[in-house]
């Protein structure tokens, strides 16, 4: 046994069973998990960043087409979804706060509301997607608009706007779906009593991911709906 491993025991510190054997202290374990999630988020920023660069290039090329095509999106539904996601972020922050205080019931409730908001978000997104598909506002070569009478027709290359719309919001929706899975897993672990005032790392890190998903939408909303 190494000198370091015995040092912890000499200090009178009993190792909790949730502390992995390769960490000295709970703080070290917590900070390592947090660093891992922040590095993953950095990767996600670059991942979504590429799509935003593509968006920037096309918007610079076709500013008028972007404006006209964007008017086919429902601002009200977009704004509603923004509020739903912001509220879910608040619930995730309160879940972490409750977990930090060791309030198991409150943590579970906040997590459930977060998950419910995520489901509402996807439901609204589905309504929007269905409307676009019905009107033939589809990506690239599938763009065959079938707009109601009285609506000004769209430029032929509007398919590139809808390609970006479906790609960006679709990848974001995929992240929401993954978030629902992760938060449900955390909710179940919380129900089983896996967390405490001393150990809430998983709740904190899952919430970090969820807030990131929120931030992506914060940029997507004005970029796509409010041109």
């Amino acid at each position: 046994m190494s000198m370091e491993a015995t040092a912890a025991e000499h200090d009178g510190y009993a190792r909790p069973k949730w502390l992995a054997h390769h960490f000295y202290t709970p703080a070290q374990q917590f900070n390592t998990a947090k660093l891992g999630m922040w590095l993953f988020i950095a990767q996600e920023i670059l991942f979504f960043g590429a799509l935003f660069v593509a968006y920037g290039v096309y918007r610079n090329w076709y500013p008028e087409m972007f404006k006209l095509a964007s008017h086919q999106l429902d601002k009200t539904l977009g704004a509603a979804n923004t509020l739903v996601l912001l509220f879910s972020s608040l619930m995730a922050a309160l879940a972490v706060s409750a977990a930090q205080k060791g309030k198991r019931m409150a943590t579970g409730t906040y997590l459930l509301v977060t998950i419910a908001c995520a489901c509402v978000f996807l439901a609204i997104k589905f309504v929007e997607y269905k409307h676009k598909v019905d009107l033939g506002l589809l990506p690239g070569t599938h763009f065959e608009p079938n707009l109601p009478h009285g609506v000004p027709s769209l430029p032929a290359n509007s398919g590139s706007f809808f390609a970006l719309y479906f790609l960006m919001t679709g990848l974001h929706a995929l992240h929401v779906l993954v978030g629902i899975g992760v938060l449900t897993w955390i909710w179940i672990r919380n129900l089983r009593g896996a967390f405490s005032k001393e150990n809430y790392t998983a709740v904190f890190v899952a919430a970090l991911y969820w807030h990131f998903v929120d931030i992506v939408w914060i940029y997507l909303f004005p970029a796509l709906y409010l041109i």
């Binding site: 000295y24 709970p26 703080a27 920037g56 290039v57 601002k75 972020s89 929120d214 940029y219």
Partner: protein
């Protein structure tokens, strides 16, 4: 011994327990109210055509909202600054990517006026990229 440093943890707690700041619940609610207000502001702004300012205001308000989420919901304001550096670095490289890419795509028509039959919609000048008119 290095073990001592580990033992103390980031918080300086000698027992190495996790110590992260937790703001009062009302504070988080206040942050949410701020975020909702900024959402209303950005929707309101989009009903006015302010020319070049449109894009700037849209990105500006979104960034303000992102900072609120990053700083308070994600605890960056109270956490070790190293996590904030990670985020800033990632955003910096997206900026590098955007700058170099648009420096190409926005100037193609100027540099290669004779290539292919496609045009830059902004100027009508011939350009290799983009869609057929």
């Amino acid at each position: 011994m290095s073990a001592v440093a580990h033992e103390k943890g980031e918080s300086g707690n000698t027992r190495g327990a996790v110590r992260a700041y937790a703001a009062p619940s009302l504070f988080y609610v206040a942050v949410f109210v701020g975020l909702a207000a900024l959402t209303a502001l950005t929707v309101l702004q989009s009903t006015f055509d302010l020319g070049k300012l449109n894009m700037l205001l849209g990105v500006g308000i979104a960034t303000l909202k992102a900072l609120l989420v990053l700083g308070f919901f994600m605890h960056l304001a109270w956490d070790n600054k190293f996590y904030a550096y990670i985020v800033v670095t990632a955003i910096f490289f997206v900026g590098v990517f955007y700058t170099y890419t648009t420096n190409d795509t926005e100037k193609r028509g100027l540099r290669d006026p004779d290539q292919s039959g496609k045009i830059l919609p902004a100027t009508g000048a011939p350009a290799p990229g983009g869609f057929s008119p």
